[in-house]
């Protein structure tokens, strides 16, 4: 199902101490955001904590009402549809597993409300628990489950409804690093196999890059840029996007007065004698990260971060080395 978000705004009566000091009665958590999600796509909302991702997702799910703007599921405007009739199920950050129900009853919750015949419910539970690799835990209590298992219960509970749209609110943020990587691969495979349109919230750029068809970068309630991961990395439209996704150097362009962004990988260094005529600098930090070597190079008017593939052909540059610097033309991005 295609999802269209048109000029969504959400204002809260501000409750933060910060806002109260500034005497601002109204706080804009989401500020005029528009985008579309095509059928079967997974789109990620990426941005720092507090930028309005959850609020936006909750409006799509129907838990919050937008102050203005439209939410369309297909061609139907759903602004006034209550959350239980939207057919968009959500995996909550805290999982929100019902603590008084067994795993099985948690998963079956939505179907029981629909009063489906028990054999059909059983069949669907079996199917979905197999899908999320949760079989055999049916009668457990939620308190007896590990974090990863709870995560799968939350996923199964959402999937069993065969939703038109699947919403994820930082679903992996409570898991340890290893499990997080495994789960994100599993979620992506599952989403592609079932072809469910999905919106996925995260503040982790690696997670966003690895899982999405399209990424939306948000900052302070606004949409900064939307595009496939490769485009966001190679062609960020502004400083915020450039530095939120990966690392970036910003250099003044002496000719146009614009700022030029260059990724650390697009900077090439070579050992030089003192005082070359071209662009040169001195290494002030040299860090051996394994696959890559990271340097900080100080030039006449800037400090550059440089990543070099570890080629094992020569020793890394040392602190104090004078190096000549070349910027790959294809890696230069003009910002305003």
């Amino acid at each position: 199902m295609k999802i269209t978000i048109k000029n969504i705004v959400k204002e809260f009566e501000s409750y933060g101490a910060e806002e109260r000091r500034k005497q601002e009665k109204i706080f804009r958590a989401v500020d005029d955001v528009s985008f579309t999600v095509e059928e079967g796509e997974l789109v990620t909302l990426l941005g720092p904590s507090g930028c309005g991702k959850t609020t936006l997702l909750r409006m799509i799910a129907g838990f919050e009402d937008p102050t203005s703007g439209d939410i369309l599921f297909g061609s139907v405007r759903v602004n006034d549809t209550p959350p239980n009739l939207r057919g968009a199920t959500m995996v909550f950050q805290s999982y929100a597993i019902f603590p008084h129900l067994s795993v099985r009853e948690n998963v079956a919750f939505g179907l029981r409300l629909q009063k489906l015949p028990p054999p059909e419910i059983d069949a669907r539970i079996a199917k979905v628990t197999a899908l999320v690799e949760l079989s055999g835990l049916d009668d457990r209590r939620p308190s007896q489950l590990s974090g990863g298992q709870q995560q799968r219960v939350a996923l199964a509970r959402a999937l069993i409804m065969e939703p038109q749209l699947l919403l994820f609110d930082e679903p992996l943020s409570n898991l340890d690093a290893k499990l997080r990587e495994q789960m994100r691969i599993d979620i992506r495979k599952l989403q592609q196999r079932l072809g469910i349109t999905s919106i996925y919230v995260t503040h982790d750029q690696t997670e966003a890059m690895s899982i999405s068809d399209n990424v939306i970068v948000m900052n302070a309630g606004r949409l900064e840029q939307m595009g496939p991961p490769a485009e966001l990395y190679s062609r960020p439209v502004n400083r915020f996007v450039a530095s939120f996704i990966g690392k970036a150097n910003f250099l003044p362009d002496p000719e146009s007065g614009h700022t030029i962004m260059v990724r650390p990988e697009a900077v090439k260094l070579a050992l030089s004698g003192e005082q070359t005529d071209g662009f040169w600098g001195r290494v002030t930090r040299s860090t051996y990260l394994g696959g890559i070597l990271e340097y900080e190079v100080e030039t006449k008017d800037a400090a550059l971060l440089v990543h070099e593939q570890n080629s094992f052909e020569r020793p890394p540059f040392a602190v104090g080395d004078a190096v000549s610097i070349k910027l790959l033309p294809s890696g230069l991005v003009k910002m305003d």
């Binding site: 838990f63 959350p83 239980n84 805290s94 008084h100 919750f109 509970r157 959402a158």
Partner: protein, 564 residues
């Protein structure tokens, strides 16, 4: 056995600490266990002092006595059911809707908690009594009889619904609204989300609140004394009347034991069964309260309800304030300052006594409670379980039983304390240590033991650790415990009424005396004075103690911790 010995040896490796622990044991034995034991023993003797079950036989044979048990139970259960319903609605409104002025409503709802427990009885007399403002003057009913079941229940609901409210607010706050979102997200409508998620999850809390109110209602003394009337005997007041009216101590003791049994049963169920079943699903920061669980219609209904209850609070307190400056309530509504003049005239000594007792008892009670909390959380020694149970017992034991126990246990040398200031102070100290213990335990359990270990590692002995590390950390809980204990000490009546004397009287007892002799205006004036003192004390502590430890929030916090 070996473990026990090792624990003992460990304890005695720190002689001062061992001495203090032994002291706590002795104090609890004398001032908690001994009085209870005395009541039990007395109830099993006849009037000539021989062992017999005569009193219980009389209890079962005389309808009047038997019905006092029945009346206490039926009115207690009715009060508890309605109080929980009101408390749930109020707590639900404050935790699940965008009600404006939440803090104001909250303070209003808990106002009855800081008033003497029979304030509402007084208001009810003045509103619905034979000369009541509503019954006689507005509705024109002659000689309306408010006494008995309906009066007691009405008054107790007003007194104890706030207790249920506080408990249930804690319960609902600990249930994440996200669970309701999750239910609606997979297709539940509002009603289904409430009935299948919110309600079952809050059920242990509801049961707990029910039992807490039941315990309080059973031990309630002031409301029955004012409103039960002679045709509706109730256990707590009947025990008092047997002792002070008929001088029949053994029978009074037997009635007290009859009261003790349901109270202790409810306490044990609440504490050892229900508390383990409670769900806490809030993790980390509390989420936004704006929830779609409540429809516009339901919100209006809840708002109406909250507004009505608030009006009732205003009405009840307004009536008291008005009566305090009225010549003769019900007949002559002209303004007068006579009541206050009279109250200060005859009652100035009483006001001072009350303050003195509360000021002496509260800090000692708080410190002792903290120390016991420290012992419970951080030490292990034989008999710890018994010590913990004994120190918490006073939550459940009705004041009437404690009062009778004190006059039985301390009426001859070497423990001749009757008629002294000491017996009042001691009674309050041991009655309110559970408050300190509960809040202390809650805080100490959250402190990483390695903090203490670090201090010991740097050369501090365990008493120094308690003084230098633990006390500062628990200070906020300690002060909020103090506020609560002070309020309780100022407003308590059920045990104190047995222990006052011509020399040392208390305000609450004074108020009841005035009600008894029909001087409602003077009683109202005393009540106003009492509430003003309590509020002033709360504000003073709030001003002196930074943060949220003092003030009204202390009442909230303490109540929550004391009933879990």
């Amino acid at each position: 056995m070996r473990k026990r010995l090792r624990e003992l040896r460990l304890l005695f490796s720190d002689p001062l600490l061992a001495f203090l622990v032994a002291g706590v044991f002795a104090a609890l034995a004398v001032f908690v266990a001994l009085p209870l034991f005395s009541v039990l023993l007395k109830s099993l003797t006849n009037e000539s002092g021989d062992l017999s079950i005569e009193n219980y036989a009389r209890f079962f044979n005389f309808r009047y006595l038997r019905s006092s048990l029945w009346n206490s139970l039926t009115s207690g259960v009715t009060t508890a059911v309605i109080s929980v319903a009101i408390g749930y609605a109020a707590a639900f409104t404050l935790t699940r809707t965008n009600l404006p002025y939440k803090r104001f409503f909250h303070v209003l709802f808990i106002l009855p908690v800081i008033s003497p427990p029979f304030t509402s009885a007084l208001s009810i007399l003045m509103l619905f009594g034979a000369n009541g403002m509503i019954t006689k003057w507005i509705l024109g009913i002659q000689n309306f009889n408010i006494y008995g079941f309906k009066g007691v229940v009405l008054s107790q609901i007003f007194t104890f619904a706030p207790v249920a409210y506080l408990t249930l607010k804690g319960v609902l706050e600990s249930l994440s609204p996200t669970l309701e979102d999750a239910a609606m997200n997979v297709g539940a409508n509002r009603m289904q989300a409430f009935l299948r998620v919110t309600w079952p999850l809050s059920l242990p809390g509801v049961a707990s609140a029910f039992l807490v109110v039941l315990i309080e209602a059973l031990s309630d003394f002031g409301n029955p004394l004012v409103l039960a009337g002679s045709r509706f005997p109730m256990l707590s007041t009947q025990a008092y009347l047997e002792i002070t009216g008929s001088f029949n101590l053994p029978l009074g003791a037997a009635l007290a034991v009859a009261l003790l049994i349901p109270s202790i049963t409810a306490f044990v169920i609440q504490r050892y069964y229900l508390q383990k079943k409670q769900y806490v699903t809030i993790t980390g920061k509390p989420t936004a309260t704006a929830s779609k669980l409540v429809s516009v219609g339901a919100y209006r209904a809840l708002f109406l309800f909250v507004a009505c209850f608030s009006l009732l609070v205003f009405l009840f307190y307004g009536v008291i304030a008005a009566a305090a400056v009225t010549r003769v309530w019900g007949y002559d509504f002209t303004f007068t300052a006579d009541n206050f003049a009279y109250a200060f005239g005859v009652g100035f000594g009483t006001i001072l006594d009350t303050l003195l007792v509360a000021l002496l008892a509260t800090p000692v009670s708080g410190l002792l409670g903290m120390f016991i909390a420290f012992i419970i959380v951080r030490l292990s020694f034989p008999g710890k379980g018994i010590l913990e149970l004994t120190s918490l017992l006073n939550f459940a034991v009705p004041g009437t039983v404690v009062g009778i126990g004190y006059i039985l246990a301390f009426n001859r040398p070497p423990l001749l304390l009757i008629g002294t200031l000491a017996i009042l102070v001691l009674n309050f100290i041991f009655r309110y240590i559970p408050v300190g213990i509960q809040s202390g335990v809650a805080v100490l359990r959250q402190i990483d033991p390695s903090i203490e270990e670090a201090a010991q590692n740097l050369g501090a002995d365990r008493v120094t650790v308690f003084r230098k590390i633990m006390l500062p950390i628990v200070a906020p809980a300690f002060f909020s415990g103090l506020v609560f204990a002070f309020v309780r000490a100022m407003t308590a009546i059920s045990a104190a009424i047995f222990l006052v004397s011509a020399k040392y009287n208390l305000l609450t007892v004074q108020i009841l005396n005035q009600v008894g002799s029909g001087r409602l205006g003077v009683a109202a004036a005393f009540s106003v004075i009492l509430v003003v003192i309590v509020l002033a004390a709360i504000w003073i502590i709030a001003a002196l103690v930074p943060g949220h430890a003092g003030g009204m929030s202390a009442i909230t916090i303490q109540n929550r911790e004391s009933v879990g």
